[in-house]
Point group: none
Chain length 187, copies 2
């Protein structure tokens, strides 16, 4: 059970504190999406589908099912700025990955599944507001914590928060500010 990609009915029964029989009924009824192994039809549910199911029913999501990795994706077209952020976060014990354009941001987001992303709002060719909106509209990025880092005025930062950013940080900023904000987001 080291690297769990799928769950058995028993696993889910324990997570939901419910009887195994009930889990099977959920699957049979279709409210929880699963699939059956060829043998006798033992059920399996992908972690993604299970988390989706939990959310749809306002049930608590066990933290161990969420990608709790300490990986941060730093999206900033300014390499120096990106590296500066990286240095601070690395010292804070985070794995860091940087992306200097939209393509890299997209591919690295899907590939490494970071749990936190820092986002510069003003990048040539990549509208940070649009990106925020898109991410927040996508089910699979619900758990991604987004820290907006920008030199724009407070109004813009407020807009970013309204669009779903978890926190904002105005440039220039203190290293301690950055680190403590990111640390808060891991909780």
């Amino acid at each position: 059970m080291a690297n769990v990609k799928s769950l058995t009915t028993g696993d889910i029964a324990k997570y939901c504190d419910v009887n195994l029989r009930t889990v099977i009924r959920w699957i049979d009824k279709g409210s929880l999406k699963g699939y059956k192994l060829p043998g006798r039809g033992n059920n399996r549910v992908t972690v993604d589908n299970f988390v989706l199911f939990l959310r749809q029913n306002n049930m608590p999501v066990p933290p161990e099912l969420l990608p709790k990795n300490k990986t941060v994706l730093i999206v900033d077209d300014d390499k120096d700025m990106g590296n500066a952020i990286k240095r601070v976060l690395k010292k804070g014990g985070f794995e860091c990955d940087t992306a200097t354009n939209g393509f890299l941001a997209g591919s690295k987001l899907m590939q490494h599944k970071p749990s936190i992303m820092t986002l510069d709002l003003t990048m040539p060719g990549l509208n940070g507001f649009e990106l925020l909106k898109h991410l927040r509209a996508d089910e699979q990025f619900q758990d991604l914590k987004i820290l907006v880092i920008s030199a724009l005025n407070q109004e813009s930062l407020d807009e970013a928060l309204a669009l779903g950013a978890n926190a904002v940080l105005s440039k220039p900023f203190e290293k301690d500010q950055l680190l403590s904000l990111v640390n808060e987001m891991t909780l």
Copy 2:
């Protein structure tokens, strides 16, 4: 594991998140079609048979197992142009996915693992040449076929070819040209 044509029981066990012993039982029972090597009878399963097996049991199919998948990612900032390309390719029997900016291109590329990509060279905020270079430098995209579609002059198209594009098509183009080029790339 670059170009796998057959899978071992261990591979399948990992894909299905199931014990190796169970995979062997599936094969022995005949629900998963495989063949045995002469030595001690180690099992092998062709990718095709494995995918068939997954489908028959409504199990999730890992996208990377569909190397010859007829999925095309259309990267073009012009939505009308993108849709036009999509129409043509859909008629030709391809699954199509469109991306209008770098972020979408990156994330959809990683998520759906298309085998073919059409690329507009001149997009605001996404340099097609840079993207080409980057993709060709990345091991995991070696098998991705790239068709560059551009209104730029021949010189630029040649440069794109030099950078690793598998084919180029200058705008405007005929539908037949597009389809036949894409068809060639699936071979």
